[in-house]
Amino acid sequence: MDAEDEATGHMIEEEEIYVNGGEDGDESKRHRPIISGEQLDIEAYAALYTGRTKISRLLFIAEKCGNASMQLDALRMAYDEIKKGENTQLFREVVAKIDGRLGPNYGPDNAWADAVDRRAELRKEKLENELNAYRTNLIKESIRMGYNDFGDFYFAHGQLGDAFKNYVRTRDYCTTSKHIVHMCLNAILVSIEMGQFTHVTSYVSKAEQSQDALDSITIAKLRCTAGLALLEGKKYKLAARKFLETGPDLGNSYTEVIAPQDVATYGGLCALASFDRAELKSKVIDNINFRNFLELVPEIRELINDFYTSHYASCLEYLGNLKANLLLDIHLHDHVETLYEQIRNKALIQYTHPFVSVDLHMMANAFNTSVSSLEKELEALITNNQIQARIDSHNKILYARHADQRNTTFQRVLQTGCEFDREVRSMLLRANLIKHEFNLKASRKH
């Protein structure tokens, strides 16, 4: 087998030339893979978030996880969190889900619910009166604050549609660009909770068009919500770019939407699935800002490095381990499979790219799979024209195959000639027929 240097012109970290996928006996030279992805520590996870998103995420975990103890844990924490707030609707839902399994402390608490509802009624009346007063007085700033308060009120009580409407109504009363940005951020928050990401995109662009310079935290917030919207829209490349541009100032300032670990995870995975090598190197690995995020999720950092240095087996191993936990993430859940598939395909393509011939047995070892399933995967990739190669099934070797330009040109030329010939002849015929019909009609008229 021809082993060549990875002819991509990029620096590789190890100094040795590796036989691609070959097992190296000396363990000390390779990074010991940090196996992670044990069962998700729900408390630690939930501690990353605040507000409504914490509850939504906990409920999502309870719904999607397989085992009952985890589910009950999640529901218990959700219950506690809801009790701190004022959302009685959600409270009733959680109680129904718990179904008495957590004992009397976690049962339906109608007294509390009624008290909260009564308080809500009173507050609503008060807000309405205030708002009407402001409206009659036509003080813009007060009206704006009034609508804002209403929005906050509805949001706390889980009436997201009304909350959104009220936030948007403040638009007419915004006087400075700061007000507009404030409104946009509120609207974005509610839209994310409602799952309507088209609104997210429009309000992000509205906020970014603001005339005053935004502070870096706001910019970071807007970038990562834009990334979220793109992720939902399955535009992984653009989403990756947005996440990678998020400044490290984000820190923990946006925990009601997203944690910095998520920025790292989403950005890292999307980049891996959609960037080519050059972009991966320049935008992810060499990106100092993003490094801060990656430090928070060392597994993602490791697997990106493994992919770049062609240690595919360990990269795919990390991915496999992380999968269970990623599936519990509310935003990533629908995309895990697609992203994984794309990453795997890229790994296969990148593996075969530098070589003239590849021994399928060694490749199967590198990817920790069997030769026949590898052959099937390669066949699919070749048929889709993502790998230019052919498989020698007898000897189990993959040969690179580059189309002969000269021959294909000749073929195309002859074919184009034939087509032109045929088309022009048909066209002349049709013209003749139409002329006929026209003459016939003309002669009938006379």
Binding site: E379, I382, T383, R390, I391, D392, S393, H394, N395, Y399, D404, R406, N407, F410, V413, L414, G417, C418, F420, D421, R422, V424, R425, S426, M427, L428, L429, R430, A431, N432, L433, I434, H436, E437, F438, N439, A442
Partner: protein, 409 residues
């Protein structure tokens, strides 16, 4: 009555006299046109007069009299004699003379065709019809009314070679659209019979996309065959019509060919079993349209296409794997298919029977030979000729008064 016969005799004498130069012939022509009724009334007694005339020198006169003769009802016994005499006339007549009266000639040939069909011996009609076409045509690009009849004879007599020779000519000038439809349809069928699928596809495509204001049965049948030939030759069929198809065709053709469109869909899906199910389901319809043979060819084509796709992915493959991928029953069957394809020149491969392996090779064509250069050169010449034709037509049209009147409004 006798008076009439005398006039006829005079005419015959005139025919003798005036068949010399071109001006004489024109004079004769006008005389003959005036005497049409005379001929019609004496139709039964004109036969013996024919013996006095020479078919070559007096073609025009002969034609008129022959036309009048044949317009009368013919009995069965007379039929074969008549056929022979018309055939003789066609072979011997002078082209310039009969071109002065093309409709007469056409009607004589039409009656010839009827008689041949009555006699149920289409073979007799093939050669004379070919000669007739050549004599009637103003140029080889001219489509006459006789073309479809000729092709019909070829089809019925299963004598395809002469048909193919006519089909080689490019047609640019059409008398009657109806002739054109029939010509293309029969021509398509002949090409299918001779396995010249690309020419068949072209002809059928012309029928389907021809300008028309109402749908006719020929187009419907042609569309069905078009779908099948498209699947066999190209391997796929697209339901969308090209822009220049008439709106009538675009709207209505699909309604008449549902089973064929379903067949095309299941072909596109790529599974042999589904395709065969589809064929079974619509078996009667296909048989009724007499397309069952073509449908069977479509099914065998699917195997071929799947094997061809394998050549893009594999360098060597075992016969058993081929059988599995293409859903054949055994390695032996796979071997037979591959062997057939190699012999037909559809793939380039070698079979190693010892290992049961097939090795796929590249197309050995290097495009370096003299023949290839000649081919490209002749292609260039053709295309230049076509371009010139196109510009000529464009110029002609821009000078055409009718067109200018329409456009300037």
């Amino acid at each position: 009555m006798n008076l009439n016969m005398n006039s006829v005799e005079t005419l015959v004498a005139q025919i003798h006299g005036l068949s010399g130069s071109i001006s004489d012939i024109n004079q004769l022509h006008s005389l003959l046109k005036q005497s049409e009724d005379l001929f019609q009334s004496e139709s039964t007694r004109l036969a013996p007069l024919l013996t006095e005339l020479d078919p070559f020198m007096h073609s025009l006169g002969y034609l008129y009299i022959l036309d009048a003769c044949t317009s009368a009802p013919i009995s069965k016994e007379q039929a074969s004699e008549l056929v022979l005499s018309i055939a003789r006339f066609i072979n011997l007549c002078a082209a310039e003379q009969i071109r002065l009266a093309p409709d007469k000639f056409t009607s004589v040939c039409k009656r010839f065709k009827d008689q041949v069909m009555l006699l149920e011996d289409p073979m007799q009609g093939v050669a004379p019809m070919l000669t007739a076409i050549r004599k009637l045509q103003l140029s080889s690009e001219h489509l006459t009314t006789l073309h479809p009849d000729f092709l019909l004879f070829c089809l019925l007599a299963k004598c395809y070679k002469p048909g193919l020779s006519i089909l080689e000519d490019d047609i640019f000038d059409v008398d009657q659209p109806r002739d054109f439809f029939l010509y293309c349809y029969y021509g398509g069928m002949i090409c299918i019979g001779q396995k010249k699928f690309s020419k068949a596809l072209e002809l059928l495509h012309n029928v389907v996309t021809a300008p028309m204001s109402i749908l006719n049965a020929i187009v419907v049948e042609a569309y069905k065959k078009y779908i099948l030939v498209s699947l066999i030759h190209v391997g796929q069929f697209s339901i969308s019509f090209p822009k220049y198809t008439s709106s009538v065709a675009q709207r209505n053709l699909k309604n008449f060919s549902q089973p064929y469109l379903e067949l095309a869909n299941s072909y596109g899906a790529g599974k042999i079993s589904e395709l065969e199910l589809c064929v079974q389901a619509h078996n009667e319809k296909f048989e009724f349209d007499k397309n069952l043979g073509l449908v069977k060819q479509v099914v065998s084509c699917m195997y071929k296409r799947n094997i061809q796709r394998l050549t893009q992915t594999y360098l060597t493959l075992s016969l058993q794997d081929i059988a599995n991928t293409v859903q054949l029953n055994s390695a032996k069957e796979a071997e037979m298919h591959v062997l057939q394809m190699i012999q037909d020149g559809e793939i380039y491969a070698t079979i190693n029977q010892k290992d049961g392996m097939v090795r796929f090779l590249e197309d050995p064509e290097q495009y370096k030979t003299c023949e290839m250069i000649e081919r490209i050169d002749s292609s260039i010449q053709r295309i230049m000729m076509l371009s010139r034709k196109l510009t000529d037509m464009d110029e002609q049209l821009s000078c055409d008064p009718l067109y200018l009147a329409k456009v300037s409004l």
